[in-house]
């Protein structure tokens, strides 16, 4: 009954409507430059990495765990990819499986320490992330490594479909997989139970430890995919740059939880949230606003969206 109510539908698609409104405002102000296919191709193609990091975050978040190491996993794998390609000379086909394995291994480390030593994931992943950053700085000698094989760039930003760089479609394909896994598989349900209450999950027969470990591994692999794409986007690897993606990714994950499936971290909500934020930033740049306005938009949009969402759900609770 509730799912059919207009209020609920409004809540589900509220952010999408705001996104459309933001597009409409920028389109009215700069119809000739903002409302062009090339601009939307740029919006969609430039932030695939952020979408994937956000998607990676929502898996452990659904299970009630934080993965603060995901940005450093990205940076480490990005550097590993660049070094193996530019310095060792391995072909990209050989590097990708190595990089994905490295991401999975980081997930195993995070999961093992969290589960076996019963330490909060926030602390474990913070420590593992900082440790990874140290390794990244050591193996790169704190330098940006360029000279990555051109094939990788071709398969990330140069090849296009409908004018949009192919990395966008990778992000959408991953969102599709995660959406299906969370909504229609036993693992997805177990993940949700684990997140809502570990004891309850355990009593209903869910192997909570195994589920949480799988979530950490999935998050590590997503971080690794983002790392490979990051190197493919910039054609190089910087030992610090991935770090700054962590907060925008968390912002998008929490913003995404206010729409499509309100109250739950969900794949399509995350995608909408990232592109809503990116559209805002792009529009402000096209209008020539200074970069501090970007921060005002980012922070303001997040707080406002969560406030509105709380208001709507709070009102609902009062009417029950």
């Amino acid at each position: 009954m509730r799912e059919k109510s207009i209020g609920y539908q409004f809540e589900r698609f509220g952010l999408v409507l705001v996104w459309v409104a933001v597009i409409a405002i920028f389109a009215l102000m700069r119809p000739d430059t903002f409302l062009t296919w090339s601009n939307f191709s740029s919006i969609f193609g430039s932030e695939a990495v952020l979408v994937i990091v956000t998607l990676g975050l929502i898996i452990p978040l659904t299970a009630g765990d934080f993965d603060l190491s995901i940005a450093q996993t990205l940076t480490f794998v990005s550097m590993l990819t660049a070094i193996l390609s530019a310095r060792v000379g391995l072909p990209i086909e050989a590097i990708v499986p190595i990089a994905l394995l490295a991401g999975a291994a980081i997930g195993v480390v995070n999961g093992s320490i969290t589960l076996f030593f019963r330490v909060h994931s926030l602390i474990v992943t913070l420590g593992v992330g900082t440790f990874l950053h140290g390794i990244t700085l050591w193996m790169s000698d704190s330098q940006t490594i360029s000279g990555v094989e051109r094939t990788l760039m071709n398969w990330v930003i140069i090849h296009r479909m409908f004018g949009i760089p192919i990395s966008f479609y990778y992000a959408i394909a991953l969102a599709l997989i995660i959406w299906y896994a969370l909504a229609y598989t036993t693992f997805g349900q177990q993940l949700l139970f684990t997140g809502r209450g570990r004891e309850v999950g355990r009593l209903t027969g869910v192997a909570v430890g195994r589920v949480r470990m799988t979530a950490f591994i999935a998050s590590g692999v997503m971080g690794a995919i983002a790392g490979i794409l990051y190197t493919g986007t910039t054609g190089s690897a910087n030992p610090n740059s991935g770090t700054s993606l962590l907060l925008p990714a968390f912002a998008a994950a929490f913003l995404g939880a206010t729409c499509i499936k309100p109250g739950r971290f969900n794949a399509w909500g995350s995608v909408v949230a990232v592109y809503f934020l990116v559209t805002g930033i792009n529009g402000l740049s096209v209008l020539g606003f200074r970069t501090y306005v970007h921060d005002l938009f980012y922070g303001g949009a997040l707080v406002l969206a969560v406030m509105v969402s709380q208001l709507v759900s709070g009102r609902k609770e009062r009417t029950l």
């Binding site: 000279g147 792009n282 020539g288």
Partner: protein, 368 residues
């Protein structure tokens, strides 16, 4: 009378029409000449008179606080200074740090408490963050200098004893000159800066002056992106500018490490053929990007040359010689035409010749 005024008006128009293109042409020629001058291997220019470095530095101690030991550019200069000090027979210590101002403060206090004669704040350790500690060190008889922090026209910041400067203004001029020469006076550029760095003012003043004097018709927009936001803000800023300005033909990130976030934005917009990148610093990975065709030009400095020049200025101060403001560290323009000279992968010390090695040793009177 009226007829005379009309005639005068027409004559003025003719004169203007004749003068304006020649002024523009003159500016273009000047820009081309500057580019040519700075594209060759630089010559050594002595920053001051010769002095007996070994004799006057005997028993003296220099303490270097680099901006961050994890930045290879700064770390390399600091290490080379240590090697030169060993060659000249006096003590030099580098304060290892990760770029945190509290670590710089610990460093300056360590130097004050351990009998060092001079503290060198190297390439970004900004004394404006710890002015009281600078004053305390000076009160204890320690000389405090900034090295490779300010431009030639900038005064020593925060009351330090001397500031050995780099010609950042010239670097700014050369970036503008390059685009003027390449576009034949039709530059339409996005200039990316980071205002919190002390050198930015100097670079930007050189760049704007070059545009104003040599190419008044050139268009450029300056956008500030704080250093901590490079990874997240540069790409959307460039993407937005490319979208808003169809005539854009240059992006000028004034520090070349910004380039890795500029080039993807240009590639995603599919404007690689029409929008070029001109930048400054000579960081090896950006020199490699010139070889790959993603960056068109980078202005570089030789790190070993900087180490020689900074130590030279610091020794002069301790030997009671005239302080050196202009380090005479030269700049060189790298582009596809001379990129092979820097090695593959690029090496920060290659491509500048070695005239300075002998030059400084003669100045210090240690030459065989």
């Amino acid at each position: 009378m009226k007829k005379n005024i009309e005639l005068l008006g027409v004559a003025s128009l003719f004169v203007l029409a004749a003068v304006l293109p020649s002024a523009a042409q003159e500016g273009l020629e000047q820009a081309r000449q500057n580019i040519e001058t700075y594209s060759g291997i630089p010559e050594f220019t002595a920053p001051g008179e010769p002095f007996d470095a070994k004799a006057c530095m005997a028993g003296k101690k220099i303490f270097t606080i680099p901006a961050s030991s994890s930045i290879p550019f700064v770390k390399t200069i600091s290490e080379h200074k240590g090697e030169l000090a060993a060659e000249l027979g006096f003590e030099h210590m580098e304060w290892e740090n990760q770029g945190n101002p509290t670590q710089w403060i610990q460093g300056i206090e360590h130097a004050t408490n351990n009998g060092f004669d001079l503290v060198s704040l190297l390439a970004g350790a900004d004394p404006r963050f710890f002015e009281p500690q600078v004053a305390q060190a000076q009160a204890a008889g320690v000389k405090v200098v900034t090295s490779h922090l300010t431009g030639l026209e900038q005064e020593p910041p925060a009351g330090v004893d001397a500031a050995t400067a780099i010609d950042y203004r010239k670097a700014g001029e050369l970036m503008a000159d390059w685009t003027i020469a390449q576009t034949e006076g039709k530059t339409n550029a996005l200039v990316l800066v980071s205002n919190e760095a002390l050198s930015t003012d100097s670079i930007v003043s050189g760049l704007t002056e070059a545009f104003e004097t040599r190419c008044p018709d050139c268009e450029y927009e300056i956008v500030n992106v704080p250093i901590t936001d490079w990874a997240t803000r540069i790409q959307p800023t460039v993407a937005g500018a490319l979208q808003a300005n169809a005539d854009l033909n240059y992006v000028i990130p004034i520090y070349d490490s910004m380039s890795s976030f500029v080039t993807p934005a240009i590639a995603i917009a599919g404007r690689g053929e029409s929008v070029k990148v001109a930048t400054f610093n000579g960081t090896p990975f950006v020199l490699d990007l010139i070889r790959a065709g993603d960056v068109e030009m980078d202005i570089g400095e030789n790190l070993d040359w900087i180490a020689h020049a900074m130590l030279d200025a610091e020794m002069r101060l301790l030997c009671d010689l005239e302080p050196i403001r202009d380090s005479k560290v030269p700049l060189r323009i790298f582009s596809a035409a001379n990129i092979e000279e820097v090695g593959n992968p690029a090496d920060a010390a290659l491509g500048y010749g070695d005239a300075y090695v002998e030059g400084f040793r003669k100045l210090w009177m240690v030459s065989e």
